[in-house]
């Protein structure tokens, strides 16, 4: 018995020693499954800095973890509207671009620049201040929203390509028998309805709210859900659903892994990215709590390396923000490895850098507006 206790004690001490013997660390606050393990290994090998990752599932959690300051994070990866909020509340440090030489070697994609410009515009409208967000943030991944559709329905693909949003929202004119699903996030529902109306999705007024309600009611949604949407379209139980392009690619890559070809999957279900559409962008930012500024800048610099960024994108279904990383991905088009070539093809098809469109990142609306929008969407659901 004593030997057993001794053995356990030695094991505990050994783990304790191992975990605190390493050198400098980078405390990273990230989304789950959002950083390729190979990238972590490469970074740790190159700089001798250990990455300690904490995972959170929402921007609001990122925010509360930084504000509460129980752990001093060196780097965080929040989305667009949360960056706006963090800058507004002075939670972020300005980046030292002299420590990020790779920034001069890459060009952000046009869509990324549009998103930053749009963020600056919404901030100006709300607070009257002009903020250059590239001072605080370097893009990590971005992505569009689109309409995942069941390609087994005759004519749906052609109709979407020709009439866009109308096919999705105007259920009385187009495909009245088709089932439609909406993301179960009230602000997303409101924003898409405004885009269909030709308005800026970040605007708010009682009139817009009423019009959005009418639009959402006329769409006769048969489903309000999150992750279930993509799986239901995939299985053929739902005909159209508003979702992240990354949601579609996620299912696509799983099917490719199962040995199906891209054409086979597309014949079953595909995604149409309308114009204009909603986008999101996740950014690397340094919170004021950061203790290892050097490591944080090194990590940002490392990720901007096109090869590394492309490697990171291999395990994540979103779009890379720089043209150079995009070119690296596209260079795999003729790869022997069918997974890599399909991956490159998917990027070329769904995240093409030459794609022109108007992109709206969603801003964080004041809580009274969110309350009204939530109540409006509840009313739409209750009346269905």
């Amino acid at each position: 018995m004593k030997k057993l206790i001794l053995a356990i004690a030695i094991m505990l001490i050994a783990t304790a020693v191992v975990s605190c013997s390493s050198g400098p660390t980078l405390r990273l606050l990230n989304w789950g499954e959002y950083l390729n393990e190979d990238v972590i290994d490469a970074f740790e090998e190159e700089y001798g800095i250990t990455i300690k990752q904490t995972v959170a599932s929402s921007n609001e959690l990122f925010y509360s973890k930084i504000v509460s300051n129980t752990t001093a994070y060196d780097l965080v990866i929040p989305s667009d509207y949360m960056v706006e909020k963090m800058v507004e509340e002075d939670l972020l440090l300005e980046l030292d671009y002299s420590l990020i030489p790779n920034k001069d070697l890459v060009t952000y994609m046009a869509g990324v620049d549009d998103i930053y410009a749009s963020m600056t515009a919404t901030t100006l409208a709300r607070t009257g201040e002009t903020v250059d967000y590239s001072v605080y943030a370097v893009p990590y991944f971005w992505g569009t929203y689109g309409i995942i559709y069941n390609n087994r329905v005759d004519g749906l693909e052609e109709a979407l390509n020709e009439y866009g949003w109308s096919v999705y929202f105007d259920a009385e004119t187009y495909f009245p028998d088709a089932s439609r699903g909406m993301y179960d996030v009230p602000q997303d529902a409101y924003a898409t309805a405004l885009i269909y109306l030709g308005e800026n999705p970040n605007d708010y007024s009682q009139d817009l709210l009423d019009s959005a309600q009418t639009i959402l009611q006329n769409a006769h949604f048969s489903q309000w859900a999150d992750d279930a949407l993509k799986r239901d379209v995939e299985a053929g139980n739902l005909d159209m659903a508003f979702a992240y392009t990354g949601d579609y690619l996620d299912r696509l890559y799983i099917q490719l892994d199962d040995g199906r070809t891209l054409e086979e999957v597309q014949a079953d279900f595909n995604i149409y990215v309308p114009d204009p559409t909603i986008v999101f962008i996740d950014n690397m930012v340094i919170p004021y709590t950061a203790t290892n500024l050097d490591a944080a800048h090194k990590f940002i610099n490392f990720l901007l390396d096109p090869e590394i960024m492309a490697l990171n994108a291999q395990s994540v279904g979103y779009a890379v923000p720089t043209e150079e990383a995009y070119d690296v991905i596209i260079s795999y088009l003729d790869s022997e490895d069918s997974y890599l070539s399909s991956w490159a093809y998917a990027n070329q098809t769904y995240y093409n850098k030459d794609r022109e469109g108007t992109y709206y990142p969603m801003t964080s609306l004041p809580s009274t507006f969110v309350d009204d929008i939530t109540t409006m969407v509840d009313a739409v659901k209750v009346s269905s």
């Binding site: 609001e60 009230p186 309000w224 809580s367 509840d378 009313a379």
Partner: protein, 286 residues
């Protein structure tokens, strides 16, 4: 030794205070004051019933008709909880009665089979149920044809899901109550000239009423306050009050969410009062 026992009781008491009592106090406080996540400063707190006004005056217009969506959600909750309770009473009571009457020696096995589904996760079970209620489902892909019509997203789907989930809560207390009835009473009533049918209604049923009441409450309350099963099986198109509260808290609309939660709490407390009138010792709750 006694002091050790007392100390062992402390962890759960702390737990109750920290995770049950304090949160309920916080909910009550937030429901009647101006506290929010952005403004959680007890020093400039002010009390008002403004949220109650928001609740009552909330009007939505659909096709020219005005309605209050909170009221509709409350009505949905009452309706689904009542239907589930009544149907589980009808089927659950007679199942419990059959088990009690049957000659099988090991009745424990049968009761175990009844609670067996509860060993798997509620969300997982509901998702699986939703899957087989859809047009293209796992059974269809194995057999090549559907054994059920596709009705996921309808109110029938929700009621079936609620019944499958909560019926065991009716069967078990009813069975316990039936088991406690002395067989001699039934035999005596037959000797004194009652038909078996009358004997059941005049002797057995009144004596088992305690079990029925606590079973009904154990079905009614989780159905009334729950949100996961209706959300999954209605495809998010049917809102119970639990769903509304969940949305309010998700989007940090704490005041109205707390007020609604308080109203649900009143319904629960009211039900427990009814329970204690019928079942003073609370024995059938076990």
């Amino acid at each position: 030794m006694n002091s050790l026992y007392r100390r062992l009781a402390i962890p759960y008491q702390v737990w109750l205070v920290v995770l049950v009592f304090l949160p309920i106090m916080a909910v009550v406080l937030i429901a009647v004051s101006n506290l929010t996540t952005a403004n959680f400063n007890l020093s400039d707190i002010s009390f008002s019933l403004a949220h109650w006004n928001d609740l009552v005056e909330n009007q939505s217009q659909v096709d020219g008709e005005y309605f209050n969506s909170y009221l509709t959600a409350f009505r949905n909750s009452f309706m689904y909880a009542s239907i589930t309770t009544i149907v589980s009473f009808i089927f659950g009571y007679f199942l419990a009665y059959q088990i009690k009457q049957s000659r099988i020696k090991n009745k424990f096995i049968i009761l175990t089979i009844i609670i067996l589904p509860m060993w798997s996760n509620l969300i997982l079970r509901s998702e699986a149920l939703r899957n087989i209620m859809q047009e293209n489902n796992i059974i269809e892909s194995i057999l090549g044809f559907n054994i059920l019509p596709s009705f996921a997203g309808t109110s029938y789907a929700v009621i079936i899901g609620l019944l499958l989930t909560y019926m065991p809560f009716m069967i078990l207390p009813v069975y316990t109550a039936l088991e406690k009835i002395d067989d001699a009473l039934g035999e005596a009533s037959l000797d004194l000239g009652l038909t078996p049918f009358k004997s059941f209604w005049k002797v057995t049923f009144p004596l088992s009423l305690k079990g029925v009441v606590s079973g009904s409450i154990m079905v009614f309350l989780p159905t009334f306050a729950g949100f996961a099963v209706p959300k999954i099986l209605s495809n998010g198109t049917i809102l119970l009050i639990g769903n509304v509260i969940e949305t309010k808290f998700t989007y940090k609309i704490l005041n109205i969410g707390s007020l609604l939660a308080m109203l649900v709490l009143f319904v629960i407390l009211g039900s427990i009062l009814i329970l204690t009138r019928f079942d003073k010792e609370g024995e059938t709750l076990l």
